[in-house]
Symmetry: none
Subunit: 215 residues, 2 copies
């Protein structure tokens, strides 16, 4: 069952997913920015307007969403889809110390010339990985309100790692892993104003490593 309402809702959801408005999504897909205006979803005589199949094809291509996921949006599914594996991504890499030398950037600051390595980013979409959105200022100066942290519950933990911890009491916090013993976990605070914590294993519900942070 494919309904007019569901198609428009899927378009809105797809836009939101890319932090775009409906007009931003249309523009991104090479359509007129007014194409998906709410005011144009019914014609003057009240008849539903359906976006064309070609327009859908264009937004699907522009956003890179898969047909399966677009189907999920069409069905109004909000739950996270099943585990998946993302293809590895690769960008040019250079060390900070070398970056100042000439020949590595063009005039606009884009990578250029020889001497760049490539780095495969750790797949952020590794099974079970999720994102946490920072709220408040308790994690400054490291994490600001609105920052997004990618957390991988399956990642190995080492001292010095930045971690998210949930206590048995229901508190979720970001800390630096100082030390793990058989009985307890010592956690340094990200914010110097907050006290460090020592949690007995019985107080610790789970702990997972932060692998990436948005800036």
């Amino acid at each position: 069952m494919l309904s007019h309402e569901k198609v428009w809702a899927a378009i809105d959801a797809l836009a939101a997913r890319h932090s775009l408005s409906a007009s931003g999504l249309a523009r991104k897909a090479g359509l007129d920015s007014t194409a998906f205006n709410k005011s144009k979803r019914l014609s003057a005589d009240g008849r539903p307007r359906w976006p064309s199949t070609e327009s859908l094809s264009k937004i699907i291509e522009a956003t890179g969403i898969t047909l399966s996921d677009f189907l999920a949006l069409l069905q109004g599914g909000g739950a996270p889809s099943a585990p998946y594996e993302a293809p590895p991504s690769s960008v040019p890499l250079i060390g900070f110390a070398q970056a100042g030398a000439g020949g590595f950037f063009d005039d606009a600051g884009f990578p250029a010339g020889q001497g760049w390595d490539h780095i495969d980013l750790p797949a952020p979409a590794r099974e079970g990985a999720y994102a946490l959105q920072v709220q408040g200022e308790s994690m400054l100066p490291l994490y600001r309100d609105g920052d997004t942290l990618i957390v991988d519950p399956a990642a190995r933990l080492r001292r010095g790692d930045r971690v998210v911890v949930k206590t048995a009491g229901g508190e979720v916090m970001a800390k630096i892993l100082q030390r793990q013993t058989g009985e307890a976990v010592e956690l340094l605070s990200l914010n110097p104003e907050h006290a460090n914590r020592v949690l007995r294993k019985s107080e610790l519900e789970w702990m997972a490593r932060i692998v990436w942070a948005s800036q």
Copy 2:
């Protein structure tokens, strides 16, 4: 990816599945029997004609096929390949404040239950994006030796953004953008022990936003 060919192939497959011709399917769906003629799949000037989403909706309803099954036909029918074709960079998202409430994580700390949004990570492979590897300790506490910063020269800059800057003198540094005026750029230091900087535009070769940092 939704292509013209795939849509028409799906319509033909759906008709065949019901022992109908294309014209029979159209008729069954209340459309004109010539609607899906092969002769009408390209317009006179060779441009592909796409059946409208409304027409698709009508055949789906008339045949009783599910959206999932229609998706399978769109994807070339055949073997049901991976049931999930994941988006390349999307993970479940929740706010820190909600994360402590029950029902969002299983016992092992993996995302579970309802209430999770999705966030689409910025494609690291956006044209021109590159990685810088932190060397030394001058950017503590934010960035540690060995951390990887993803930099996007094409990203819009706003005050408060963490940026990489190259000076005309060849120095590359990470700073916080405090203010841009027509003549100068004010940069806050990441490390409280280092002085803030004001650069005249003539001293600034380029400036680019850090979009992600490894942890």
